[in-house]
Each structure stands twice: as C-alpha cells, then as structure tokens.
Symmetry: C2
C-alpha cells in the first residue's frame, strides 16, 4: 500500500539534481497549495540528492509566489557535502517561474549522538475524546478533495473558540495530529506537519490566508510512531507580519521539530 | 566619522551582483570570524542589490566552513522582486570556496504598516551599574584587536555565573548592548548583534566554540537609538545540536529582532 502523503509528494529524477513532481489538488485550500505540502515535495527531492544523507536537519524556504496543482520541477544543488552532513539548495519551479527557493542541511538522523535534554514542555492536550473535532472525521470522506480529508486534527478545546467565532485572542492553538490513512510520521513528513494547522492568527480573530514569506524547520529527532502533538503560537505582530512558532512532539514525549515562519497577516 | 562597524562591513561593488569585502581581524575569536559579523557583510551586499529595498526583513544563512580575515567576495542573485519586497540569494566566497550561503527578503521597513502588538516581554535586566561587566571597558582598549573591544555588554548578574565558572544551568543569558564607538543600532547591525553574545551553552557549562549550522534573523522593526537588550536562550539539546533563540529589544521597548540558530554543541 502506498500512503497518500508518499504518493502525493513523490518525485521522479529526470536528470542530475533535477526532479519532477505532479502536485496534487488534495493538499490545498482554494487555488494555492499548502506551503508545508510543497516543502515535503522539495524535501523528498533534497533527500534523493546526496546518497547517505536522507533526512532533513534544517530546511529554510522562501515563498515567492503561490503554487498550484499540476506539474512542477525541483532543481537541487549541492553547496557542500562533507563530514556527516550536506548543505543543499533547491528551487521549486512551475510554469517557468521559481515559486519557492530553499536551503537545507541534510544528514542521517539515526547516526547522530543519542543524548538529549530539554526544558521545553509538550502542549497540555486533553485526551482525544475531550478535544474538539472542528471538521468531520476524515474516514467519512477519504476520497474528498479537501486538504482536511488527509488527516485528523483534535484541537485543545480551550484553544478552538475560533472555530465557532470566539477566538481566545491569546495566539496559541494546539492539536493532536495523525494522517487519516494510518501513515506514521517520519522526518520528511514533519516538514509538512509544521504548516498544516490553521494559521495561528485565527486565534486572534483574523481569518483567511496568511501568506508565508519564510519558513525554517529544524528536525530535532526521528518521530516515534503514533499521534503527534502540534502547537502553533505567535507573540509579535508588526509591520503587517507575524511570526508563527511551531513545535511538534511525538508519542514518546520527544520534541521532534521546531519551526518558525514569518507570514503576512490575513487581509 | 566612520564607525568601525560600518568600515569593517563595507562592501565594494565590482560587477553586477558582485561585491568585494576586506574581512577584518577585529570581529573574530581565534582564526574564525564571528558569524553575525559575516552576516552583516552579506547583509550590506544584499541591501545594495535592489534599489529601494535597503532593509533586511528575513535572512537565513547556512554556514559551510569557517571564514577568516582577508579578502572575500559576496555574490548576490535576485530571486524575485515585486510588490514591496525582494527575495535574494547570496554566497560569501573566500579562497574560491563558498563559506556561507544565504537567502533573504529585503524591503523598506519605513514603508511597512505602523500598528504593532506583542505579548512578548523584554528581558528583565537590572540597571547598567548593577549588571556584570565580564570584560574590561572597551574604551580602555579601543585599538584592541579582540572582538570584545567593539562593544559594551552588561550581563544580567544572575545569568553571568558562567563568567566565574558557575553557570546556572538554565540556558539563558541576557545583556545590555551597545557599540563601543557610539554607533547607533540599525536594521543591518541587528544581523550581527543576534550572534555577538557568547553561545548560550556557556550557561550550561559547555565552553568553547559552537559552530552555527543555520541562522535565521527576522527584523521586526527599525531600532530606536540607544542601548539594546539582547536575550539568548536554549531549551532543547539533541543529536549533538542545540537551538539558540535570540531576541533584541530597543530603548523604546520594541521587539526589533528575533532569531534562531541551530548549532553544534561545543566539544
């Protein structure tokens, strides 16, 4: 069985450091595809560029213009490969225009030193049945064409007021997350999961698309199987922009990814 | 009068999208130059690449290998220029090798919308005279060749135990900051200031150089004249790496820059 995330982010190598992808309508809202989904596609191409360096450690993407469904090309470039890591560049090109440009460090997460310590705390999410299911269960519409059919998201009930028109104003949302078809999380998929919750600005009462200018993801460990916990927060709005910090925690209570994006406020 | 920061980060345009710099010995520790200083040099070249887009809004740098004093070239590329911002790439090349590769969004901070709101809090620093001056006053050795002669840093006394061999273990350091020769902060110089304090790992008892893999800076507002307050914090160590978050606050109590870097633990 091929899981839909793997099918939809798949890339085909067509030349040295060049890959094609067929971007799916299934990972978008309206005409624009989700930035995290697109980062997953780029991440797949980067992971196939240098042998033995399959995992993203850091990826920084600058979003130049909206990307739609259909064919696209990912061109990669090795900036440096040495020691245990490789630094790479990538452009996602559609209709002759570069839509996203990125830099990344790749390595092999399984080869990194084991020790870890943290003072960060996972989001304090209630049990699944006490969380808020904003959308219908994805199982009921697996063949649906909405991005929301791709996953389950169970929101912290005290941070889900925005769904019923009563945003808290705190700028924090968090949720349990898993893919609807049972695909387990891995390092690449974290590049997508950091951008799948609604923009945290919904909790400030600002609805609508918040175009990302820049998004950097640090993958801090390979996630264990099972549900993820995802937290989005913003603290500062200035110059018509806000930062959105995301943390992802796995079922073994490890902080597996941290990201920050700078985005424009919804109009 | 030319301030030393402006002199030492100066670039000369030699061709379309190509600049030379003479990297100064005065911004390093041992043979390697400070990553923030180098980001300032790159930032100057980027600011001269697209007319009317002088200010960094977001800069992401990947450090490939150590850069030393002497001549270097910064090659820039316009990825997209449209609307009110430009997205750019830059490589800093020394001795024929790319040492740093970067992506950036530039614009004109004075043209951004004025409104702002924040739930972030500035570091709770005592008055200057109650802070800890770890090094001699820079005025006494203005002609010194150490990076520490370039600025004044007055550390929070409860976060300066590392300087006397008693790190707190909390992973937080903060300090008042100003350039020693009276140069006022601006957007470009924030690219440097985010990386001038010692690595936050000193507060965990890990001394020594912490090589940066990736550093992203978001400039959130033009800083007001006067002292800056700078805070470094880390929460998570994993895979031999740690993240260092930096915030810079200006004399008007505005959060003017946020950065995060992923760095290797000191050996």
């Amino acid at each position: 069985m091929t899981f839909e995330y793997d099918r939809d982010t798949g890339v085909t190598k067509t030349a040295e450091n060049e890959f094609t992808a067929e971007l799916s309508t299934r990972w978008g809202m309206a005409a624009a595809l989700n930035g995290g989904y697109l980062l997953g596609v780029i991440g797949r191409a980067l992971g196939e560029t240098v042998p033995g360096r399959p995992d993203p450690i850091s990826v920084s993407a600058y979003y130049l213009s909206a990307t739609g469904p259909g064919p696209a090309t990912v061109k990669t470039e090795v900036k440096r490969s040495g020691g245990s890591i490789a630094t790479l560049a990538a452009d996602l090109v559609q209709d002759g225009t570069t839509r996203i440009t990125a830099l990344a460090t790749y390595g092999d997460l399984s080869q990194l030193p084991e020790g870890h310590r943290t003072t960060a705390m996972p989001p304090d999410l209630p049990a699944h049945e006490d969380c808020t299911r904003v959308w219908d269960r994805p199982e009921h519409r697996r063949d649906g064409d909405s991005m929301r059919d791709r996953f389950e998201m169970l929101f912290h009930p005290e941070q889900a007021g925005w769904a019923s028109g009563e945003p808290s104003g705190n700028g924090v949302i968090s949720a349990w997350f898993r893919f609807a078809d049972g695909r387990e999380p891995d390092a690449i998929s974290l590049l997508t999961v950091v951008d799948l919750l609604p923009p945290v600005t919904v909790d400030l009462g600002k609805f609508g698309w918040a175009p990302t200018l820049e998004l950097t993801v640090h993958v801090r460990a390979t996630p264990a199987p099972g549900w993820l916990r995802v937290r989005h927060a913003t603290r500062n709005i200035a110059g018509g922009m806000f930062e959105e910090d995301c943390e992802i925690w796995d079922s073994a209570d490890r902080l597996v990814a941290q990201s920050r994006q700078l985005a424009r406020l919804p109009r």
